[in-house]
């Protein structure tokens, strides 16, 4: 491949992808994946060609990918144009489509599926990789979470020049990131510990003192360079920056700290990142307030026990009603057994509706949790059944997409 041919073929690819994506969008099929799929079919090297000479930042992990990527994109836009897969199309096809949006943008901020990260890193490398967390999710698809950590670790070992921003409080992430040449460690607490009971290094028992974990083999939580606490992000050796996010919860404070640290690696001052992140009110429809009938409904996404754990922490208290909408399609995982790892006991004393295509699984779980509920498989109809006032509609991935399509448009 000559230097002359490369840009022209990249332009041709980009034109094809954007053309197909536009047609696909107009015909109502959604545009973010199909163009990439066809481009990869025409040219197996499309991803490498489109990514070359750009600063690429990847964000991966079980929970918080889309939000952290949105935070990071907002921070980086203060410095110049970027490409960003904002609709969450995070497999190789979605990355190709995102790169094709703007061939002149010098930076790419891309969320990437946990299983796709290792092969894509081996193919194109990256300047920055943000590793958020790893916990049980879609076990029928990803298999076991330790295997994902092992694949990340191997890919990072061979990734020259990469700077990893890693969540120090998650032992699996710390182990995967430990292989990278340069790491910025972030701490914001780890309430979900069911997937980090044993040491990824030696198999021994991990013990915790507050947020600091360690194993007898010597593997222990790295000292954090960036710490998020309620209302503040503190950089090592610096002062605490006040942060007033509009997105709720400990998880979003953690996501913001990760994004701030990653933006700093490519030269964005922390103050500029904070201002950009504070302006974000919703991410791909999540946290959006919509009116359904006479109810004011907040749309929330929770797709696994760790995610639900975070949502239960910031859910509005009773009398706000709750709709629990669960599907079990491919992107959700076909097995909703994980509902039994969620503390639905905490929902009590308010109107609750079991919803989604697997409303009956939710209903059985709620019954054993002692939470009185109605059953209504259509999440929007479920909201209509509830008393006026605030409704918290918590849905997993495809259930959320269906709600967004029905009521979520601005």
């Amino acid at each position: 491949m000559t230097a002359v041919a490369r840009p022209s073929s990249a332009h041709l690819l980009s034109g094809i992808i954007r053309g197909i994506s536009a047609v696909s969008r107009v015909t109502g099929r959604g545009g973010s994946v199909i163009g990439g799929r066809i481009a990869l079919h025409l040219d197996h090297g499309a991803l490498r060609r489109l990514a070359s000479d750009r600063t690429v930042l990847f964000v991966s992990g079980t929970n918080g990918k889309t939000t952290t990527t949105a935070f990071l994109a907002a921070a980086l836009r203060t410095a110049g144009p970027i490409v960003h897969n904002m609709t969450g199309a995070n497999l190789k096809t979605g990355l190709v489509s995102a790169f094709a949006q703007d061939l002149d943008a010098p930076m790419a901020v891309l969320e990437i599926d946990e299983a796709a990260l290792a092969p894509v890193l081996e193919e194109i490398g990256a300047a920055v990789v943000v590793l958020l967390n790893l916990s049980r999710d879609q076990l029928d698809r990803y298999g076991e979470v330790r295997m994902t950590a092992a694949k990340w670790r191997r890919a990072l070992e061979g990734c020259d020049g990469v700077h990893v921003v890693a969540y120090a409080d998650d032992p699996l992430v710390a182990w995967a990131a430990g292989a990278a040449p340069a790491v910025t460690w972030v701490s914001a607490g780890q309430p979900w510990r069911m997937d980090s009971a044993s040491c990824p290094e030696c198999g021994g028992r991990i013990s915790w003192e507050g947020e600091v974990w360690s194993c007898r083999c010597g593997f222990a939580r790295p000292d954090p360079d960036v710490v998020a606490e309620p209302g503040f992000i503190t950089l090592a050796g610096g002062e605490a920056l006040p942060v007033r996010l509009q997105l709720p919860g400990r998880c979003n404070a953690a996501n913001a700290a990760m994004a701030l640290a990653a933006a700093r690696v490519v030269g964005v001052p922390p103050e500029a990142s904070v201002a950009a992140m504070e302006a974000i009110v919703d991410v791909a429809g999540r946290y959006r307030q919509v009116s359904v009938g006479s109810a004011c409904t907040r749309l929330l996404l929770a797709k696994n026990p760790a995610g639900w754990n975070e949502v239960l922490d910031f859910l509005l208290p009773p009398p706000a009603s709750v709709v629990v909408a669960v599907n079990a399609r491919g992107p959700d995982g076909y097995d909703p057994s994980w509902l039994w790892d969620v503390d639905f006991e905490r929902l009590g004393n308010r109107p609750v509706v079991a919803s989604g295509e697997r409303a009956l699984d939710v209903a059985v779980r709620l019954r054993y949790a002692g939470v009185p509920h109605e059953i209504c498989p259509d999440p929007v109809a479920a909201v209509h059944r509830l008393p006026d006032g605030q409704v918290e509609l918590v849905a997993n991935y495809t259930a959320f997409q269906s709600v967004l399509a029905a009521v979520g448009r601005d």
Binding site: E144, D195, D335, W338, W340, L360
Partner: protein, 245 residues
């Protein structure tokens, strides 16, 4: 009830089995207590029912090591206790199971069976089983997700025969040996199959009144239909053995 090592063997919501057993006694006004046994703790020997769940290869091997120390589970079983062991938990109750990197490891030998990695891809999907336990247990509904396949010896009998899915891999599913029950079914299995939960409780508590399981009945019917629809779609693909009649 004792839930053993949920941090090692609890990946697939199997802790729900403990909740189901406790709650079905409490709803009937009977006392019930649940003890969670974590790594490094010695399991109490005085419980009636011990529960083990599914988990990943290396935590599974660790749980087997923990349980081998002093033989608390063997002792409790010898004194009449029951065990429900799911997936990885089921495998470690046999003579050998498949450890990390495919190395065979010794199990507890509470069930006369051995588990080795199957030749095919990992078994993942809805499963339906005609049970051969109890007199009033309707077909067992669940979800299986395992790489190992299990061969029963003469001392163990299967929990049932597979109507749809894979189970042990030879048309049988799970194993029963006295009051020790092993199965590949998640769901969790006792949430989807309250008759199996009540059967196990009836080994220790007399006169269990019926409960209103209307929502579970609807869920079971829905899953049955899903299995039937999948059987129609994939009738040339997966291992399917349809019940006659």
């Amino acid at each position: 009830m004792a839930l053993l090592y949920p941090e090692l063997l609890g990946t697939y919501g199997d802790r729900g089995n403990a909740r189901v057993l406790v709650q079905r006694l409490l709803w009937r006004g009977r006392p019930a207590e649940l003890v969670e046994v974590n790594r490094g703790d010695v399991p109490p020997s005085s419980c009636d029912i011990y529960l083990l769940g599914g988990g990943e290869d290396s935590p599974q091997a660790m749980a087997a090591v923990e349980l081998a120390v002093g033989g608390p589970l063997e002792r409790a079983v010898a004194e009449g206790a029951a065990v429900l062991a799911v997936c990885a938990g089921y495998q470690i109750l046999g003579h050998t199971f498949c450890g990390p990197e495919g190395v065979p490891l010794p199990g507890l030998g509470l069930i006369d069976c051995t588990t080795a990695r199957g030749k095919g891809p990992r078994v993942v999907g809805e499963i339906l089983v005609e049970p051969s336990i109890g007199t009033a247990v309707p077909p067992l509904s669940g979800y299986e997700n395992h790489a190992g396949l299990t061969r029963l010896g003469a001392e163990a009998r299967p929990l049932g025969s597979v109507l749809a899915g894979v189970g042990n891999g030879d048309g049988t599913e799970g194993a029963v040996s006295g009051r020790v029950v092993g199965t590949y079914l998640h769901g969790p299995v006792l949430a989807r199959n309250p008759a199996l939960a009540d059967l196990m409780l009836s080994w220790f508590v007399d006169h269990l009144e019926p409960l209103d399981d209307g929502d579970v009945a609807r869920l079971r019917q829905e899953r049955r239909q899903a299995v039937d629809a999948a059987a129609g779609r994939w009738s040339t693909g997966r291992t399917l053995r349809r019940a006659s009649g």
